[in-house]
C-alpha cells in the first residue's frame, strides 16, 4: 500500500517542514516505509540559537542547523576541514563525529570527510510517519585519485533512530544499500554502544 508521508507526520513536523520550504517527496520503500527529504544546502541551514552555537564555538567548531522533522533537530558541525552531523531529540544528543572523523574504516577510505552540501538528508519513516533512520551523504578526498583535480569518494552514513536512542547503522555505497540498512533500524534498539 502506498501512503502519503503527510498522513503520518505530526503537525509540528509538517509546520517545520513547511516553514523552511522543504519539499516532501514520498517514496515507497520496503513495505510501509517512506522517505522524507530535507535540504542540507547552505541556503536551507542557519546558525542555531545562541546557546547551542556557543557550545560549539567553545570548541572552535562551526555549526548550522538544518531542517528536520519534529521532534528531531539536525546540526551540521564543522571543524577546519571536516564536517559531520549531530542530532538532538528532546534532551537526547548524539554526534557522528567519532564515526565520521575518527572511524578507522573512514580513515582508510579517504581524507577530509564532509557532509555533502549538494545533497539532501533522507529520513526513513515508518507507517505512522515516525522517523526510523536518517541517511546523509559524506564526501571524502580520494587518496588514490588525483587530488589536484579534486577526485572524491562518496558514502552514505546511516543512523538509526528510536524513541530513546540513536545508533550508527553503518556506511553504504548506494542509495539502495543505505535504505536496506536504514529499514533494519528496528535493530537499533539492540545495537551495541548506542
Amino acid at each position: 500500500m502506498t501512503r502519503s508521508v503527510q498522513s503520518g507526520m505530526s503537525r509540528a513536523a509538517l509546520l517545520l517542514v513547511a516553514a523552511v520550504g522543504v519539499v516532501v517527496s514520498p517514496q515507497v520503500g520496503a513495505g510501509e516505509i517512506t522517505s522524507l527529504y530535507t535540504p542540507l544546502g547552505l541556503g536551507a541551514c542557519a546558525v542555531p540559537p545562541a546557546e547551542i552555537a556557543r557550545s560549539y564555538e567553545g570548541r572552535d567548531l562551526a555549526v548550522e542547523e538544518c531542517p528536520a522533522p519534529a521532534p528531531y533537530r539536525l546540526f551540521v558541525v564543522s571543524s577546519d576541514a571536516r564536517s559531520w552531523i549531530d542530532l538532538r531529540r528532546n534532551d537526547l544528543d548524539w554526534s557522528s563525529e567519532q564515526r565520521v572523523v575518527y572511524g578507522r574504516d573512514v580513515l582508510a577510505l579517504g581524507h577530509f570527510p564532509n557532509v555533502s552540501t549538494s545533497g539532501v538528508a533522507e529520513w526513513r519513516l515508518d507507517e505512522k510517519g515516525i522517523p526510523l533512520a536518517l541517511i546523509v551523504r559524506l564526501r571524502l578526498v580520494d587518496p588514490g585519485g588525483d587530488a589536484t583535480q579534486g577526485a572524491t569518494i562518496s558514502r552514505l552514513l546511516v543512523v538509526g533512530l528510536s524513541a530513546d536512542s540513536f545508533c550508527d547503522l553503518g556506511l553504504a555505497k548506494s542509495n539502495e544499500e543505505a535504505r536496506q540498512m536504514a529499514d533494519m533500524a528496528a535493530a537499533c534498539t539492540a545495537a551495541v554502544g548506542r
Binding site: V47, D60, A62, A81, R139, V141, T148
Partner: protein, 247 residues
C-alpha cells in the same frame, strides 16, 4: 609501549614557530580558488595550481604545495633516523582540502594551500580538543619544529594530529619576491590589490581602498573587463593588469 598512548599536551611546545596567518597565505600564495564550497575542492588559482604535486614523503603519499611536500619529505627522513618505530607507523589523514569552514564566508581551511598535514599513527587519528595527544606525536613534534613547521597541539583548541608550515617559514620562501601574486582574484589582499583598486577608482569606479579583493572589487574588475572588451572573469591577470596600466 603503545605508539598511540595518550599523554597531556606538553607545557612547552613549538619553540620559535607560530601558525601561518590566513592573511599571510592570501598575500603570498594567493587565494587557492575564486569560489569555495563547504566540501573539499581542487585548487584553481592558475599561479598556485602548478605548485600542487602528489608525491611520496616516505611512509605515505600526499598531495600538497611543492615546497611543503619537499620539506615534509625531509622531516620524515629525520624521523626515520631518530624514531624508526614511529616512522613505520605514520600515515596521513590528508594535506590538501580547499574549502570554506562551514558556517563562515571568510575563513578558509588552513589545508586549502596544501601546506598542512594531518597524521595518523597505526591508522588512528588523535582526538582533537581533548587536551591529550598521542605520545609519539609529541616525540616527533620537535623534528617538525626544526624544519619550520608548527604543531597543532598549540592551537587554542588543541589539534595534535595537525602540523603546518609555520608563518616565518612561509615568509622565508617568498623573501625577495615582491610580486609573488601575479594573478589577483577574489580573496587576495595586500598592496597589489590596493594598486588595482586605486587604478579602477582613477577610471571612475568607486571602490573602498582597503586592499581586499572582495566581491565589490571583483564586480568592478568585471565591469572594467567588459568595457575594455577583455575576457570577463573578474581576475586580474597580465592582460587586465596591462589594460589598467599596472603591467
Amino acid at each position: 609501549m603503545s605508539l598511540t598512548k595518550l599523554i597531556p599536551i606538553p607545557a612547552v611546545i613549538n619553540p620559535g614557530v607560530g601558525p601561518a596567518r590566513q592573511a599571510t597565505m592570501l598575500q603570498l600564495l594567493g587565494s587557492p580558488r575564486h569560489t569555495y564550497d563547504r566540501e573539499c575542492q581542487s585548487v584553481t588559482n592558475v599561479t598556485l595550481k602548478p605548485h600542487m604535486i602528489t608525491s611520496s614523503v616516505g611512509p605515505f603519499r600526499v598531495t600538497g604545495f611543492d615546497k611543503a611536500v619537499t620539506s615534509l619529505t625531509k622531516v620524515m627522513s629525520d624521523i626515520r633516523v631518530a624514531r624508526p618505530d614511529i616512522y613505520e607507523s605514520l600515515g596521513t589523514a590528508g594535506m590538501l582540502c580547499a574549502r570554506f569552514v562551514r558556517g563562515s564566508e571568510v575563513s578558509i581551511s588552513n589545508h586549502s594551500w596544501g601546506t598542512a598535514v594531518d597524521l595518523t599513527l597505526d591508522g588512528n587519528l588523535d582526538q582533537r580538543g581533548d587536551g591529550l595527544c598521542q605520545q609519539c606525536l609529541a616525540d616527533i613534534a620537535p623534528i617538525f619544529n626544526r624544519h619550520g613547521w608548527f604543531w597543532g597541539a598549540g592551537f587554542r583548541t588543541e589539534d595534535a594530529m595537525h602540523f603546518e608550515v609555520a608563518e616565518d617559514t612561509i615568509r622565508s620562501w617568498y623573501s625577495g619576491e615582491p610580486h609573488v601574486a601575479k594573478i589577483l582574484s577574489l580573496g587576495d589582499r595586500g598592496p597589489d590589490v590596493l594598486a588595482v583598486q586605486t587604478k579602477l577608482n582613477a577610471l571612475g569606479f568607486t571602490l573602498i581602498l582597503d586592499g581586499v579583493f572582495g566581491r565589490g572589487t571583483m564586480a568592478q574588475v568585471m565591469a572594467f573587463q567588459h568595457a575594455k572588451g577583455l575576457t570577463v572573469d573578474g581576475v586580474v591577470g597580465p592582460t587586465t593588469a596591462a589594460a589598467l596600466g599596472l603591467a
